[in-house]
Structures are given as structure tokens and as C-alpha cells.
Amino acid sequence: MLLEVSNLAVDLMGTAGAQRIVSGGTFALDEGESLGVVGESGSGKTMTALALMGLTPENARVSGSIRFEGRELTGLREEAMLALRGDRIAMIFQEPMTALNPLHRVGAQVAEPLVLHRGMTREAAFDRAVQLLDHVRLADPERAARAYPFALSGGERQRAMIAMAIGCSPRLVIADEPTTALDVTVQARILALIDGLRAESGMALMLVSHDLAVVAGHCDRVIVMYAGLIMESGPVEVVLREPKNPYTRALLEARPQPGASRGRRLRTIPGSPPIHHEIGAGCPFAGRCDLTIDICRTTPPPEVRFSADRLSRCHRAREMGSLNMRTGA
């Protein structure tokens, strides 16, 4: 296993005491595999990704275990983390507009990890950056390398960010909503590019997204997060076809259906995600869930294991096949 995470928890220390943003995160990722992480805003997806990079905010406490290439990352010294970041693990960010420093040339920024981790001279790294920009199929890489970020479009900048991430051939790339800020056609091309790079280099990918269609099309396995908990995980086609968790099912039903009759309203999930300190003893989805029964409000949902890599965190997970949403009967 390339990456094994068990019982990952992230607490944010605030003036009102600690808040648990991520809890009980357990998942694994193999070489060359791609894992989708989906969930609503504030479900802990990004915090999980940042915890893997060791980039959580000052006031965050990370506990549990993160084993990467057989090495424990939690509690690792910052210098050792610096050597890993950008070399073995790289990250692609959501906002290509702000993830590049406006005051430096694109090529110099793409060259940065090569200078840091490969000890290349700035000139050699710049030349390599031009090759990398060409590799991510940026038109006219010479010009792009010499340009400042403002001169590139959003899609071009995201390609530059990807070039920066893959420069040192990382084993794991974490992409945090890499296409959310781009329009749909550019999104498709960027995702195809990431797929291609993954196929040729055998790197593993962790794709954080709130778009189930993106995850369905580009990931082998998926974890569904809600209020910091992994609600369901498993092979992507199985999870999306036969969700064993009411939250996953509600997310799937909230998508627009192709061919649905005009004027039909989309199904929504009633209510809004709980604020972290409002989570009581029970399931965080209790109340918003059509299948809520008394035990949901009082007891945390158990992990129900359907197969080696298929988990659902729900009191009624085993009944899911036969239960109809809405009626609860």
C-alpha cells in the first residue's frame, strides 16, 4: 500500500474549545490507484487532504496514523515533511487564479520543486519547466514559461499548476477540486490530462470533489464524507450504483436526471449540514435523513462492512437495498 490512513482526526482549537473537523478517517490507496473524496462544503474533504500534506492550519491538531510509503507522517519533523512535499506527494489546488504568485514568471514557479528537490540550477530547471509545460499540452510552452500568471487563462494556469505538481514525479498527487473554477469543457480536458499522466507514470491520485460525475468518471474508489465522517467507501461503480448509505443516495438523487421531464424539480436534501459543535451523540445526518429512527439520534452510527473495501457508516445500512427513501418504509 502506498498510503494507509487510519483513525485520522483533525481538531481545530478555537476560543470555544476544540472542534473535531475530521474524525475516524480510515482509508488506503495503492500505487497507481485513484481515490475520489466527495462531500458537501465543510464536510472535511479539504482538511483531510491538507492533513496528508502536513499543511493543516496553525490551530489544528492532527491525530491518528498516516503511513506513506511505509513511513509514519503524523508527528514527522517539519524538515522531513519539507523534503516529501512537492517531491513524493504533490498537490493541485482549486483556484488556478490565486495558486500562482502574480509576481513570478510561470516557468520559474513550475521550476521551483526541481530546484528544491532535484538540486537543479535555475536555468536547467527552467528548461525542464518548458518541457513539463509542453507535456501538460500547454500551447506554446516557451511563451507560457516566460509569461506572468495574469497573461494565462484559467485552464492554462491549471495546466501550469499540474506541471508544477508532476515535476518531480510524485507517487501521490492530491487534487483539491482541481476543476471547480473552470468551465465544463476545460474541466473535461484537464481531467483527461490527469488521467493520462496517471496512466503513464503510475502515480496515485486523490481527487477531492463535490461532483459525483467527475469522481465516477475518473476514480477507482470513492469515499463519501459528511460532517467529518466517512459515511461510505468502496469501488466507485458499486457505491454509485447501489449506495449503502442514505447520505450517498440522497446526493445521487439530488443530481439532475438526464431525460427528466421539463419543469420537474430536483430533489434536495432538506436542512443544512450541522455546524460542528451542534453534532450530538448520534449520527450527524440524523434529522436530514429520511430513514431517521430513534437510535440515529442517540448512538453514533456503526461501521458496517459489506466486503473488504466496502464500508457504510449507518444504523440501517443492511436494510438499504429494500428501503425506499422519503417514505422510510
Binding site: M91, L103, H104, M161, M164
Partner: protein, 279 residues
């Protein structure tokens, strides 16, 4: 700024007027090194309190010293104090501000509360206290003014650096494996430079004013050093006989301070379009 458009600085009236006045100040100091109409400290009692004439462009003071020569030479002290005091403020302020911003937590709190503590005392009174404790003189005046600038620059640095560190490219730089020192120099400093340049220009004006005040009180430049503040103090003795003697150095101080403040405002408009939009 529209993507694809070239960055065009906004050249405002403030910028022009400020730049011209500041340049005049620099020019006066530069000229004084190579030429003054008379030695600025040359006493010439027979010609004391002379009216402006071709021989003495701004007349002479109560000891017969040429006012024009003194004004030219006095600008040196103003610039020296401004440069060094602002330099002290910048060096220590930036270092402290960056340390505060990068470390966060109690270190940040400690640096900021210490700054507040310095702010709690009126700047000029603190400078008077320092110079009267450690002895009057230009060096001590510079140190006193510079020390009081450290917390101001530290606050500006911390606030703007926190803004930059919150940007995604700072996070992206960390994700690429960069250490805090290289992020500070490569990402933070260039991005906060406009705010610091503006702040330094305005503090420069403040330093000139502070030096004049200290010298006026006899705590800054000592005779025979020519200084605008001292010229004001000496003019006070003969204020009823020769009021113009107070007007010349007063105008020199006012124009320099005005010029630098205008320059600071103009630079802010030119370098930081966001600030302009808000004010």
C-alpha cells in the same frame, strides 16, 4: 486589472507634486555638499539681520550667518535622520513582523502587544524622553525616532504578510516543499513591498518633523550643525525684529513634509489600486 492588459501606474497630481517637492529636498542636500553661498556657520556680526538681497538671498540671522546656506545645509540633517530612522524601522520592523506572521500563536501575540505598548506612549514625548536620557545629538535623535518606527512597520508587515500567507500561492509554495524563509523572501516580501514603500515614505516625512521638533528643543542637532529645527529655535529670539527668519525654515519643513506625504499618497494610488477604490 483586466487580464491581458498591461499594468499602467496611475500617475496622479499627488504623485507629481510630491515627487517634485521630494526631489527639491534631495537636490538641496546634494547642492550643499558642493556649493553654498557662504559657509553655513560663518558668523558675520556687522551684517546681522540683513534683509534679502543679491548677496544674501534670504538675508542673514542674528549672528550674520547666511540663511540660504543654512537652509541648504540643514536639509542634510533632515534627510539623514529620515533615511536612517526609517531604515532602522524597516529592518527591525520587517523582521519582527515576518516572525510574528509566520510563527503565529503566542509569538505573534507577544510581538503585537509589545507594539501596542510602544504605541501607548506619544511618539514625540518618547523621543524627547530617550534623547534627554541618553544625551542630545543627531545620533540619539535618529535612534529614538527609529525605535519608535519599529512597531509601526512591524504591524504593517504582519497585517499584509498575513494577507499574503492566506493566499493560495503561499499554500502552493508550501505544498511544493518550500521552507518559511524562502517563502518570506520570494513570495511575501515582493507582494507586501508596495505597502511598505508607502509606509516608509510617510514615515520619512514624520521623521523630518520629529527631527525638527527635537532640534528645536535642543535635543537634536547641536551647534554649529545647521538644522531647520535649530534655525526655528534661534529665530524665536528675534521673532519681533525679523519674523522672516522663522518663516524660511518653517516653510522648508512644511514643504518637505507635505511633499513626502503627497508622494506617499501618490505612490499608494499608483502601486495599490485596491486601496484607492476603498478610500
Amino acid at each position: 486589472m483586466s487580464a491581458g492588459g498591461l499594468w499602467r501606474p496611475r500617475v496622479s497630481f499627488s504623485l507629481w507634486a510630491g515627487a517634485i517637492l521630494a526631489l527639491m529636498l534631495l537636490l538641496a542636500a546634494a547642492v550643499s555638499f558642493v556649493w553654498t553661498p557662504y559657509p553655513p556657520a560663518a558668523i558675520d556680526i556687522p551684517h546681522k539681520l540683513a534683509s534679502p538681497s543679491l548677496a544674501h538671498l534670504f538675508g542673514t540671522d542674528d549672528l550674520g550667518r547666511d540663511v540660504a546656506s543654512q537652509l541648504l545645509t540643514g536639509s542634510r540633517i533632515s534627510i539623514l535622520v529620515g533615511l536612517v530612522a526609517v531604515g532602522i524601522g524597516l529592518v527591525f520592523g520587517i523582521v519582527l513582523g515576518l516572525i510574528a506572521s509566520f510563527s503565529g500563536g503566542w509569538i505573534e501575540d507577544a510581538v503585537m502587544r509589545l507594539s501596542d505598548f510602544v504605541f501607548a506612549f506619544p511618539a514625540l514625548l518618547s523621543a524627547i524622553m530617550l534623547t534627554s536620557t541618553y544625551g542630545p545629538g543627531v545620533i540619539n535623535a535618529i535612534i529614538a525616532i527609529g525605535v519608535l518606527y519599529v512597531p509601526i512597520i512591524a504591524k504593517v508587515t504582519r497585517a499584509t504578510a498575513n494577507g499574503v500567507l492566506a493566499r493560495e500561492y503561499a499554500l502552493a509554495a508550501r505544498a511544493a516543499g518550500r521552507g518559511p524563509l524562502s517563502i518570506a523572501f520570494d513570495h511575501v516580501l515582493p507582494n507586501i513591498a508596495p505597502a511598505l514603500i508607502v509606509q516608509a515614505t510617510i514615515q520619512f516625512a514624520g521623521a523630518i518633523l520629529a527631527e525638527a521638533a527635537l532640534s528645536y528643543l535642543g535635543l537634536g542637532a547641536q551647534p554649529p550643525q545647521a538644522s531647520w529645527g535649530r534655525m526655528l529655535a534661534e529665530a524665536q529670539n528675534v521673532l519681533y525684529n525679523a519674523p522672516s527668519l522663522a518663516i524660511y525654515p518653517g516653510a522648508a519643513i512644511a514643504l518637505s513634509v507635505l511633499g513626502l506625504n503627497l508622494l506617499g499618497d501618490g505612490l499608494r494610488d499608483a502601486l495599490d489600486p485596491k486601496l484607492k477604490a476603498r478610500s
